[in-house]
């Protein structure tokens, strides 16, 4: 069973909830899929066994065979190639690695080479399997890295996968193929707005969803109303409590600082199991 922990809005407590769940359950695998800003390792301190480079295929021009006809640049929809002043310039950051320029070149003068854009790390935290990904700063897309993290995952374990914020490509990659999507939000108009976008995405991808209200308090009704009208359950509330923020600022986990949450998170997992199976 794979549970995606996502949010729409950033900073609502995805990583706190995902790590809390992983630490409260037996036989788990944790995947940090926020390869732009991976943070779980700062709280879990994994022992890393293996770092696998993640590469993208980018074109390389054979200047001997190239006649500067411009067919490659004309084909490329991502503007990753341009004929300028007697040579073909390649902009690797814009390249999607589709390979179209190779087919478009009438001279066969476009080759491809591998370019590293980041890495996937595989390790362990005591009995827990741990995977995270890191995009190199300056690189635009973490999607390949997230795909590689998921490809490397074991299928015989309960998997908790911590998604990036937002609702774009990498988040879609994480939610699609998960058995359940747990959305962590906060009771503010910002939290509600982005929760709606995330709920739309989960529905679009056909993945059942449930909601955790973090920094819960007197304004929860703004989230509850939305959940009720969509038939999505509110499955856990974590109160607004400065002590939780302080523990986080010291690098402590929720269940480390407040052990009473372990049982509540196991209960949450049982409820997810029931819903995902339904």
């Amino acid at each position: 069973m794979r549970i995606a922990v996502a949010s729409g809005k950033g900073g609502t407590g995805k990583t706190t909830v995902a790590i809390g769940l992983a630490l409260s359950l037996p036989n788990v695998q944790f995947i940090d899929a926020d390869a732009e800003e991976p943070n779980a390792h700062l709280f879990l301190h994994p022992v890393v066994h293996e770092a696998i480079p993640v590469c993208m295929t980018v074109p390389e021009i054979d200047s001997v065979g190239c006649t500067l006809c411009g067919a490659c640049a004309e084909f490329c929809r991502f503007n990753a190639l341009a004929v300028v002043g007697g040579e073909v310039l390649v902009f690797p950051e814009l390249c999607h690695g589709c390979g179209g320029c190779v087919y478009a070149c009438p001279q066969g003068a476009v080759r491809e080479k591998q370019r590293q854009i980041g890495e996937v790390r595989i390790g362990a935290v005591a009995e827990m399997c741990f995977i995270d990904g890191r995009l190199r700063p300056g690189e635009p897309s973490a999607v390949q890295i997230v795909r590689e993290e998921i490809r490397r995952a074991r299928s015989d374990r309960t998997t908790i996968i911590d998604a990036p914020p937002g609702t774009a490509c990498a988040v879609q990659e994480v939610i699609a193929g998960s058995d359940f999507c747990l959305l962590v939000t906060e009771p503010t108009p910002f939290g509600l707005h982005d929760l709606r976008m995330a709920l739309d995405l989960a529905a679009e991808l056909g993945v059942p969803a449930g909601v955790v209200i973090n920094r819960s308090g007197p304004r929860d009704s703004i989230i509850e109303g939305e959940c009720q009208s969509r038939g999505v359950p509110v499955m856990l509330r974590i109160p607004l409590d400065r002590r939780i923020a302080e523990a986080y600022s010291r690098g402590e986990t929720l269940v480390g600082a407040f052990p009473e949450y372990a049982e509540r998170l196991r209960e949450l997992h049982r409820a997810i199991h029931t819903r995902a199976a339904a």
């Binding site: 589709c98 995009l135 700063p137 300056g138």
Partner: protein, 285 residues
């Protein structure tokens, strides 16, 4: 006209609260929300939509079933596993056009698709350009570029002296697209191991694209010691530390009321954001 981008690395550190307040304090600024897959700035500025247009991002491959000879060449060349059994998976298709190029029957065409909407609105603080990505759509970086292009046009027409842009979390394509050509980036961080880690990474990206960066530590008093570490880390990365803002319940109250913090409160966080704006405006001048 000067352009200031507010980003954070880590999400939820207070970018939009800072931008909303700066909008109220700057008076003649034009505004843009470049966080297209989780936009929130419009929730503080009460925009009246003046202009709305669909945004077509990447094209989508379409197979003409009658012309298709089922040769399978398209499936073979697609690097994104978007063609299976002569059918195109719209979610996986990146719109590269390779399948259309190689199809011997000419049965595949590339068609534009709507992947979001862009709005130009009036607010009490100046014109706001914002957008919304449709659920499941791609090409966020290009949508950000388009939002910024329209925002600059709108700002010029309004005679604004400053274009203030609310960015996305992370370091990927929307952030890179929003950094191109701005005069400065203000990074809002928070005192936690994640805040510092993500600050370091986003400052590397700003440096990579040669954008001068300034840093603000929000909620600094949650952990003053870690807040000092964040400031130190900013300085050693060559960014100037422009100020810090204390934790204040007035911040979430202002969000709930849907108005900029500096108009909702005269408390400690609002005063700190005003001081931050004074220093930021001097840096930009």
């Amino acid at each position: 006209m000067k352009e200031l981008l507010v980003i954070s690395g880590k999400g939820g550190t207070g970018k939009t609260t800072v931008v909303g307040s700066f909008a109220a304090l700057a008076r003649d600024a034009a505004l843009a929300d470049a966080d297209v897959d989780a936009p929130n700035l419009h929730l503080l500025l009460a925009p009246q939509i003046r202009e709305e247009r669909p945004y077509s991002g990447a094209e989508l491959a379409a197979v003409d079933e009658d012309a298709c000879t089922r040769c399978g060449r398209c499936e073979e060349v697609c690097r994104f596993a978007a063609v299976r059994g002569h059918q195109v998976d719209a979610r996986r298709c990146e719109g590269c056009g390779v399948c259309a190029l190689v199809c011997p029957a000419g049965a595949i065409t590339m068609r534009p698709q709507t992947s979001g909407r862009i709005f130009v609105s009036d607010t009490r603080y100046g014109p706001l350009t914002h957008a919304r990505l449709l659920a499941g759509a791609e090409a966020t970086g290009r949508l950000v570029t388009e939002v910024r292009r329209l925002a600059r046009q709108t700002a010029d027409r309004a005679g604004a002296h400053l274009l203030l842009t609310d960015g996305s979390p992370g370091i990927g394509c929307p952030v890179i697209a929003s950094l191109a050509g701005v005069d400065a980036a203000l990074v809002v961080t928070e005192p936690s191991p994640s805040g510092i880690h993500d600050l370091q990474r986003v400052l590397q990206v700003a440096a990579h694209f040669r954008v001068p960066a300034a840093v603000c530590v929000n909620k600094w008093d949650i952990n003053p010691e870690v807040a000092d570490q964040a400031a130190e880390c900013a300085r050693s990365a060559g960014a100037c530390v422009l100020g810090r803002v204390p934790f204040d319940e007035a911040v979430s109250a202002a969000i709930s009321e849907g108005i900029p913090l500096v108009e909702a409160s005269t408390g400690p966080a609002a005063r700190a954001v005003e001081a931050l704006w004074d220093r930021m405006a001097r840096e930009l001048a």
